[in-house]
């Protein structure tokens, strides 16, 4: 079990600056994120898109902003738990115990939800029948590619993941690649490779087709795919892989007993605390009258939530407001010499 002063859920810009604010006032924190990298939406959705409304930064991309926020955390020891999603929360004698899908357990008086529009999850197939095969013969990511050896694998999607896996698996498996239109958005070189393999008969390509339904009696046996013009084809298959990108879901947090407003969490504007004492929400995921979904608002909200954490993390100490320009204790935390 990991004990910390505050647990931050979400490593996007708001989560990162909140970690900075906690450390500035002398609190330790840990950060959990479901993605495999730091940066949240800025990295996952628009790494190359310029942002023009960060104060004092006339223009920067999502990636640059993330890099700068990570640099700003350098003086501090902030532990990141990536590829982990928070699942459960419960109150144990005034401390929050938060458990992740990997079984990590945090014990902390303060939980700050900086989850953006939720955690990124793979987009799934439309037909309801797919659920019963999920994790057995239908996958949205690959953990062990050896299970596909000498089997027929039907891959759906038009991006890099679909193309890369089609190429990779074609060495040892019979591969069907199915996409809803003629154009692919993956890398040109990989696409050329796919066309080459198609000529050699190592990949069967079906464009303008989508999955209609999986067939089988408990065990997947074949799939019906449907053309844009409604024509249906049946393909024998052992496995189905879907690569349709990621969608954001509030996930298990929706069941934490917090007051929700659509996909956002209601907070007060003094501490950005939810209806549960010691659980805060900051950034795009919080709502209050006048809420602006801007990164700069997340910074403000995180700074205030961090101060609110102090009281619960250090019940016997008094929080004293100090400036980074003049406080010797802050300068010490930053590893700088004071005058």
């Amino acid at each position: 079990m990991i004990k910390t002063d505050a647990l931050i859920i979400g490593a996007g810009p708001t989560g990162l600056f909140t970690a900075h604010q906690l450390n500035i006032i002398g609190l330790k924190c840990e950060v959990v994120d479901n993605l495999d990298k730091i940066g949240g939406q800025c990295i996952e959705l628009y790494p190359d898109k310029p942002i023009y409304d960060i104060p004092a930064v006339p223009e920067c991309t999502g990636e640059e902003l993330t890099k700068n926020l990570i640099n700003q955390l350098k003086p501090f020891d902030v532990k990141f738990h990536l590829n982990e999603r928070v699942e459960e929360v419960k109150n144990e004698k005034g401390q929050w115990q938060v458990k992740t899908n990997n079984g990590t357990i945090f014990s902390t008086p303060n939980v700050i939800i900086a989850g953006g529009v939720g955690s990124f999850e793979p987009r799934k197939f439309t037909p309801k029948e797919c659920e019963q095969y999920e994790g057995k013969s239908i996958f949205y990511s690959i953990k062990d590619k050896n299970i596909f050896k000498d089997k027929t694998v039907s891959i759906f999607g038009g991006g890099d993941s679909a193309l890369d896996w089609a190429v990779e698996l074609s060495t040892n498996s019979n591969v069907n690649l199915i996409h809803r239109r003629d154009e692919f958005r993956g890398a040109k070189s990989t696409l050329n490779k796919v066309y080459e393999l198609e000529k050699e008969g190592k990949i069967n390509l079906f464009t303008k087709y989508q999955l209609k339904n999986p067939k089988g009696n408990g065990k997947l046996d074949s799939i019906d795919i449907q053309h844009e013009n409604k024509e249906i084809k049946n393909l024998k298959t052992d496995f189905i892989l879907g690569f349709f990108g990621l969608i954001m879901q509030l996930g298990p947090i929706a069941n934490w007993g917090l007051n929700l407003n659509k996909k956002t969490i209601e907070v007060d504007t003094e501490k950005f605390e939810t209806n549960q004492k010691g659980i805060y929400a900051v950034g795009d995921i919080c709502s209050y009258p006048g809420k602006l979904k801007l990164i700069l608002s997340g910074f403000h909200e995180g700074a205030l939530a961090a101060r609110a954490c102090f009281k619960l993390a250090r019940p016997n100490e008094k929080y004293r407001f100090e400036f980074t320009t003049s406080s010797s204790s802050i300068l010490k935390r930053l590893g700088k010499k004071s005058d």
Binding site: K49, E228, G245, I247, K293
Partner: protein, 105 residues
């Protein structure tokens, strides 16, 4: 002001007036029409403002933006009338536009 009709997947229809210069997505969000999430806020970085444009309107609206089809690949149950509503501009010419909303985003 141009009128736009959004039909939810359950058949419920909403006709609202939307300012010229906005997008069909903004028209839905500003009028609290359920069924359009617009998680990324209109930067064409997600696919949660997906709509099906009625066939008779499909060729009358502005063409797809570069990269829009790439995002639509990731939408829930796309078809050949699929568009991202954040990429459809509201003009006088599309007064009366009707879009169907998918079962989910």
């Amino acid at each position: 002001m141009p009128k736009i009709t959004y039909i939810e997947n359950n058949g419920k229809s909403h006709t609202v007036e939307v300012d010229k210069g906005l997008t069909v997505m903004e028209g839905a969000v500003q009028n609290n029409i359920p069924g359009i999430d617009a998680d990324c806020g209109g930067s064409m970085a997600c696919a949660t403002c997906h709509v099906y444009v009625k066939e008779e309107w499909y060729n009358k609206i502005n063409e797809k933006s570069e990269g829009e089809d790439d995002m639509l690949d990731q939408a829930y149950d796309p078809n050949k009338f699929s568009r991202l509503s954040c990429q459809i501009s509201v003009t006088d010419e599309i007064d009366g536009l009707v879009v169907d909303l998918p079962k989910k985003q």
